[in-house]
């Protein structure tokens, strides 16, 4: 949903006002960076992808017609960049540096070590999925987008989105050890 505030930024962004550029990057930069990291599995590559996303957005903001939210439009650019990278590199996953990232993450030392290890295992499993399936999974479960929104961003039909999601979740279930399958239940129960 587009807010009135966003419309004001977009107008200023279109005019190339430096303050609006800063605002858009501050608001959307972090969510995009996190998604980019989930997509490519590399912090360095994720930063490059986000930087390129904003460069392209600044260059082609006149093409933004406001039919979707600015974030959806930016996400579409990011996804295109990710797909281009995949085509260039001809491999499904970037050489991940996600293991190193946690060392500087400032996570509470009292955090349950066991759960931390389990989470890392699940995350590594996500990285083994094909780019299309990983893409669908991230948009659905991380961004929390609806099927129609994913179809719009990924430029595929709703049927394709559902099929990719189904395949991705089934693939995850197959490779996921039984002890991890119960992790979802405990998270859900804790929330309730």
């Amino acid at each position: 949903m587009k807010s009135e505030r966003e419309e004001t930024w977009v107008d200023a962004f279109k005019k190339g006002e430096p303050r609006s550029i800063e605002k858009v990057i501050t608001v959307y930069g972090t969510p995009l960076l996190r998604s980019a990291f989930l997509l490519c599995g590399s912090e360095v590559e994720a930063h490059d992808m986000v930087q390129e996303t904003f460069l392209q957005a600044i260059k082609s903001i006149h093409k933004f017609k406001g039919k979707s939210s600015l974030f959806t439009w930016l996400y579409g650019i990011l996804l295109n960049i990710f797909r281009q990278q995949i085509r260039k590199r001809r491999y499904s996953a970037f050489p991940g540096d996600f293991g190193d990232k946690n060392s500087k993450s400032g996570i509470n030392p009292e955090h349950n070590l066991e759960r931390k290890r389990e989470f890392s295992r699940v995350y590594s499993m996500i990285q083994t999925l094909s780019p299309h399936h990983r893409e669908a999974l991230i948009l659905r479960y991380y961004e929390g987008l609806k099927i129609t929104e994913i179809a719009e961003i990924a430029r595929v039909s709703k049927g394709t989105v559902k099929s990719r999601l189904h395949y991705a979740t089934e693939a995850l279930r197959k490779i996921m050890p039984s002890d991890l399958k119960h992790l979802g239940h405990s998270i859900a129960n804790n929330k309730e």
């Binding site: 960076l33 996190r34 995350y123 998270i187």
Partner: protein, 186 residues
């Protein structure tokens, strides 16, 4: 609706993007069908798990100020480049247009002048080229009439005391010329 149909709509059901009737129908079905309910709940649990995992893995990532600075600088650097390109475009377009006009003009001039030269040529059966009439031949009939699309030119050769007759044609091969003695003409 069968279970398979309901399961296909599980994602939209969770999104709340179905019509009220179908949404209600699925809710009722989930209450009575254990298998479909399991699938729905399993999807929910997986969703919770994946969200938590992805949140945790990315929570430390924050866009840094240096990127904002770099992007703002990039925007500033882009401006003169665009201006420079426009300036080159502004200069190059008229120049290239002028060159094209000049080439067209020269081509027309060359074609025209070669045609003019062609018009001055007189084609004879044994010789083709510019025939110098001023030198030793004079046209006896400047009106030179057309006859059946042919131009008949009578020329006088004072030196050799003879008349020449050229019957031209658009086809040079059909152009003929013959000489008559002056006495015979008289």
């Amino acid at each position: 609706m069968k279970c398979k149909k309901y399961r296909e709509l599980i994602y939209e059901y969770r999104d709340g993007s179905l019509s009220q009737d179908i949404h209600k129908e699925i809710s009722e079905h989930l209450k009575v069908c254990r298998k479909c309910r399991e699938i729905y709940e399993r999807e929910g649990h997986l969703s919770e798990l994946l969200k938590s995992v992805m949140d945790r893995e990315t929570s430390s990532l924050v866009i840094d100020q240096s990127m904002i600075r770099r992007l703002k600088d990039a925007k500033e650097e882009r401006k003169p480049k665009i201006f420079a390109w426009r300036w080159i475009d502004f200069i190059l377009k008229p120049i290239s247009l002028l060159i094209v006009v000049l080439i067209v003009f020269l081509s027309v001039f060359v074609i025209h002048s070669s045609k003019s030269k062609e018009n001055k040529m007189i084609w004879l059966n044994d010789r083709a080229g510019v025939f110098d009439l001023e030198e030793d031949l004079t046209l006896t009939d400047p009106k030179a009439d057309w006859l059946e699309r042919r131009l008949i030119i009578t020329i006088v050769d004072e030196k050799q005391k003879r008349y020449g007759k050229i019957i031209t044609s658009k086809n040079p091969e059909k152009t003929i010329m013959y000489w008559e003695k002056m006495e015979a003409k008289k």
